[in-house]
Structure formats: C-alpha cells, structure tokens
C-alpha cells in the first residue's frame, strides 16, 4: 500500500477533477460531431444499396416496393425489403439477428450492418 501511495503523482481529488474535465470535453466534442453529422447527412435518399463482402450487389429504389434475397453458397442469407419508402432486413439466418432488430432505415446517414454475413445496406442519393 505504501509503495502505491508514493507512486501517485497527483492527489485523488485532483484526479477526480481531471476526470470530470475530460468527461465534459469529450462529451462536447462527441456531441458536436454527432450534431454536425446529422446536419450534413440528414436528407432522405432514393435508393438502398446492398453491399455484400465489399461488393455492391443491389441498388433498390425506395419508391418501389420490393424484396430481394441475398446470400452465399454456405447458406447464409438476408432478405432485404423495401416498403413505404424505407428499407429493412426482414429475415436473416445470422446468429445475432442485429440486422433484423434494427428495423427500417430511410436516410443516407443510416446503415444496416449484418457483420456475421459481411453485409451492409445503406441509402444513396440519386446519381
């Protein structure tokens, strides 16, 4: 215990003050970053892009209701559905089901990621 108290370069109250300061600074930085991100990318886009293992395999216009099955030879699959101008993964056989839980997305800042299958769906503006 003695050795440990000697090692301390700053007192506990000083450390606590540093912690609070850093928390406020980081919270402000991340908060501003998040706000800027929302302002810059907040428009709704017209097409859902399905990317599988790094390759774009589908571009689905959001104004047309459709459903596609994406998958590979191992039997991994995700069903991507466009409905009411929004896109969602309605069914998948991935272990965590996170892509299904996320639900519908419709803005360019959003993304559905199915990491076990290496698939992501995101929205793209026209052109």
């Amino acid at each position: 215990m003695m050795a440990e108290t000697k090692q301390k370069t700053e007192s506990e109250s000083h450390k606590r003050r540093n912690t609070i300061l850093l928390a406020v600074v980081l919270l402000t930085v991340f908060g501003i970053g998040w706000l800027v991100q929302h302002r810059m990318l907040g428009n709704s886009g017209p097409a859902a892009v399905v990317q599988y293992n790094g390759e774009i395999i589908h571009r689905l216009p959001l104004n047309r209701e459709t459903s596609v099955v994406v998958g590979d030879r191992d039997g991994d699959y995700n069903i991507v559905t466009v409905k009411d101008g929004k896109v969602s993964v309605t069914e998948a056989n991935c272990p965590d089901q996170i892509c299904v839980y996320i639900g519908q997305i419709s803005t360019v800042e959003e993304v559905i990621a199915c990491l076990p299958h290496g698939m992501i769906v995101y929205i793209e503006e026209e052109g």
């Binding site: 606590r16 850093l22 928390a23 991340f30 970053g33 272990p95 089901q97 839980y101 990491l115 992501i120």
Partner: protein
C-alpha cells in the same frame, strides 16, 4: 505463506472472472440496446476495472481473456469472440496507459475504457464489411461508452474500496 496467499488470489480472480462472465451474459440478453447496434452497458468492464485496481494489468488481461473465451464458448461463437477480443484489448490497453499516467482516477479510467471498447469494435466492423460507413455509429457509441463508462467507474471504485478492506482482513486470518 506463499501458497496460502497465491491460493487466495486465485480464488478472488476466479470470483471476479465469474462475475464478469455473468455480466456479459446479462448484457447479451439485449442485442440492440437503445436502437444502435453495439451500444452496450459495458457491465463486464466493472469486473475488469476492479481487477486492474486490486491487482495489476497482467491479472486484468488474464481475467478479460478468460471471460471472452468462456462467454464465447458458452453463449457465442468464434465470430463474437474475435469481435469482443478487439474491443476488450483496445479498451484494456488504453485503461492501463491512462492508469499509469496517474492523471485520472478510477472513474476516468473506466470512462476511457468504455469509449475505446466501442472504438475497437467499430474498427473491426469497418474491416469486416469493408466499408467505412459503419463509422456512422462512432459518435453515438462514443457518447454511450463515455456515459456508461462513468457509471461503471463509480460503481467499481466503490467496490474496490470495500474489496481492498476485505482482502486485507482476509490476509490477517
């Protein structure tokens, strides 16, 4: 004396590892917390922070590794194991460095751990889907890691105080 002491230490580390594993399991019951993938309470980090403060970074690394291995074998798969190792290692590394610097207290160390855990997982996610778009979640996850890290730090700080006393009294028996 030596064997008695090391036996006691192993018992305490086992206890904390078990606590970390239970907390991981509790956390896995909510796959998508708050509507953002990867957003978690970081409960197991409470046990890791405690080991880091009660012992050294070596014990913390050991407990962290055994937790991931155990949880992966019991409730997960190779994918989830690799994914959590990335977050846990980056988180632990940054916590050890911050603690060594002596500038922040236990709450600050836990806070940095929370943020870096999410940062590590986003890096792996970007690598897996080969698209930087998953980085979209960085700010949200950074904020959530910061807040949950703070709370976890407060809790584990109190627990460390009490466990230090318990371990010391235990030694005099």
């Amino acid at each position: 004396m030596y064997t008695r002491r090391s036996g006691r230490k192993i018992a305490y580390l086992g206890l904390l590892t078990a606590a970390a594993m239970i907390l991981s399991y509790v956390e896995s019951l909510f796959p998508v917390f708050g509507g953002v993938p990867g957003m978690k309470l970081g409960l197991p980090n409470a046990a890791i922070v405690m080991v880091l403060y009660l012992y050294t970074w070596k014990e913390a690394l050991l407990v962290s590794f055994v937790r991931i291995l155990g949880v992966g074998l019991l409730f997960g798969n190779a994918f989830s194991m690799a994914f959590s190792i990335a977050g846990a290692l980056l988180s632990l590394l940054s916590m050890v460095l911050v603690k060594k610097s002596g500038k922040l207290d236990c709450v600050g160390v836990s806070m940095i751990g929370g943020v870096m855990h999410n940062a590590g997982q986003i890096l792996v996610a970007i690598f897996i889907v080969e698209n930087a778009r998953v980085g979209y979640y960085f700010f949200v996850l950074a904020i959530s890691g910061l807040v949950t890290g703070l709370v976890i730090g407060l809790i584990s700080g109190e627990l460390v105080k009490r466990m230090r006393i318990a371990i010391r009294n235990d030694g005099s028996l």
